[in-house]
Symmetry: C2
Subunit: 328 residues, 2 copies
């Protein structure tokens, strides 16, 4: 079975752990994660890729569960030096172990390798799959397309807006720098086209999933793949499960509401992306109207507290995918 | 008193500690170190400046005395990560504390500051001077002029030849990449011109002092300064005190001999650089002939085992400087 997942960082990593756990005991399956790279940035000559690292660490089991990002057992020897020099990005944590990843990636890039190959080499250190389930991480693009936020005080990198400003300065718009000339990374379009099912993780619909879809060719690949496309709401009862996605949704005029996000993605029958949409039980009533729009829905508890709850969500998504008429 | 010292890394740092110790209890004095930057390099996007760091750490008292380079109490958290990723430069140590310096410097450079200003900000963290003696570190140039070594197997960066190959591949020539368009860093020519004495540290005559002198304008500034110019031999009894300077000297056809190096620098009376030259006691006889060439010499123990022996050398150099006829 081939499952392709479009994913951001923290929510994406929990969801992917659920996908892996759901498939580890079955037939051999290939999971391909198409990962948001809009948060990537250069910091003092080093290439940082927050979402790729968050997912790799979580799947490798070396992540800091408590913080939700970064490596477990992290130390701050280098960052303390930077602070002593009066240098640093207090809004962005550079742990020593994490820095190893950034320097390794930067070294690969300087050697002329594309980000997708650098990612392959970095993740080769760990087994990311489990049992019958193998996992490959693909950056959405090898090109440097960074998400910038337009605020009333100017434009800044998404990471700075999100982490330093805590998304408090109202976002007027999101810009993907250089997106026009960008292309999907090798394997991305094929992974979407050749999948048995495509899943949209409950990641930020604007700056994670939306950013992936913004790379020319990816939205069209999702809209036209023969595989069923099932999304998972990251909003429960009108509130985001984690992060500050409401600050992003309001910038693009979408309500912080599970059904509103589904309509934003749109039904495939009308040129949109979704065959199915999972909502939390509390949103069952408001999501019912989506069926009439051509989006099959299922309601179940959507909080990913542990692998078991994530597995239940993934099984529901796969069940919803299988429930549709055969396509293609 | 204004003392300007041309210096490389390890030998330069010991000599500079001697200069500082010799002047700390006297009248207020300004020591300016013009430091070799030919060993500098980019490594995975980070700018490394081995000689500047070696000198800064030594003067700040945070250096590793035993190894002779790097920070005391160093750890290798980041480098162990790099090794786990199959990345790294086993021939070049990247300690965690040291990496803090590299990242800080790179951040300053990315902010558009020249290396000299980045160095000023980095060294501002510590008091480098002592008592009545203040010290400023100036890179020889703000431009990226790197020393490459031409071997029978091709050209490589000096640091790789020196550290990875242990200078075992015969050097046919040394090249300063981009030197033609380079300029001395701000303050360098003034420090040489306005000094009361200019000292050539017992650093490598080819790839440390020679590299500094290769930056257009610096050799001429030393040759024409009104200040007396005194050099200190880094060779005792036909053997280099530390490092592998013999492998460098042979490439330029100079014998590994204190008097031969003095003749390589040349007497100022014949358009060269030296008014005086300190040799070890064992080289007193062979150096005697230099007097006839116009280079005053003095022989004394030249091994810098501790501050006391370094101070004795510096006092001899200052004495030799004062013994000449008034110039300018």
């Amino acid at each position: 079975m081939r499952v392709t997942v479009l994913a951001g960082g923290v929510g994406g990593s929990r969801f992917l752990k659920g996908v892996r756990a759901a498939l580890r005991d079955g037939e051999p399956s290939e999971i391909t994660a198409v990962v948001n790279t809009g948060d990537d940035m250069w910091l003092a000559g080093l290439r940082i890729a927050p979402d790729l690292d968050t997912i790799a660490y979580a799947l490798a089991g070396v992540n800091d569960e408590e913080r939700g990002w970064g490596r477990a057992g992290e130390t701050m020897r280098v960052s303390e030096e930077l602070a002593a020099f009066g240098v640093g990005w207090p809004w962005f944590t550079l742990g020593d172990l994490d820095l190893g990843t950034h320097i390794a990636r930067t070294a690969f890039l300087h050697d002329g390798l594309p980000l997708s190959e650098a990612t392959r080499r970095i993740t080769a250190r760990w087994p990311l799959g489990a049992g019958a389930a193998s996992i490959e991480l693909l950056p959405a693009t090898d090109d440097e397309v960074e998400t910038h936020v337009v605020t009333d005080d100017g434009e800044l990198h998404f990471e700075e807006w999100w982490t330093r400003l805590r998304a408090a300065a109202p976002a007027r718009a999101f810009v993907q720098t250089g997106v026009e000339a960008s292309r999907p990374a090798p394997g991305v379009l094929e992974a979407i086209r050749d999948a048995d099912v495509v899943l949209l993780a409950p990641s930020n619909p604007v700056v994670s999933i939306g950013t992936i879809l913004g790379i020319p060719g990816i939205r069209d690949a999702v809209a036209t793949t023969p595989a069923p496309v099932i999304g998972v709401a990251g909003i429960i009862g009108g509130a985001v499960v984690r992060g500050m996605a409401d600050a992003c949704l309001s910038a693009i005029g979408v309500a912080t509401d599970a059904a509103a996000v589904a309509r934003h993605y749109g039904p495939r029958s009308a040129g949109g992306l979704l065959d199915g949409w999972l909502v939390d039980e509390v949103d069952a009533a408001s999501a019912a109207g989506l069926e009439a729009d051509g989006i099959r829905t299922r309601a179940l508890p959507l909080r990913m507290r542990d692998d078991a709850s994530s597995v239940a969500i993934v099984r529901a998504a796969l069940g919803l995918a299988a429930s549709g008429s055969t396509r293609g």
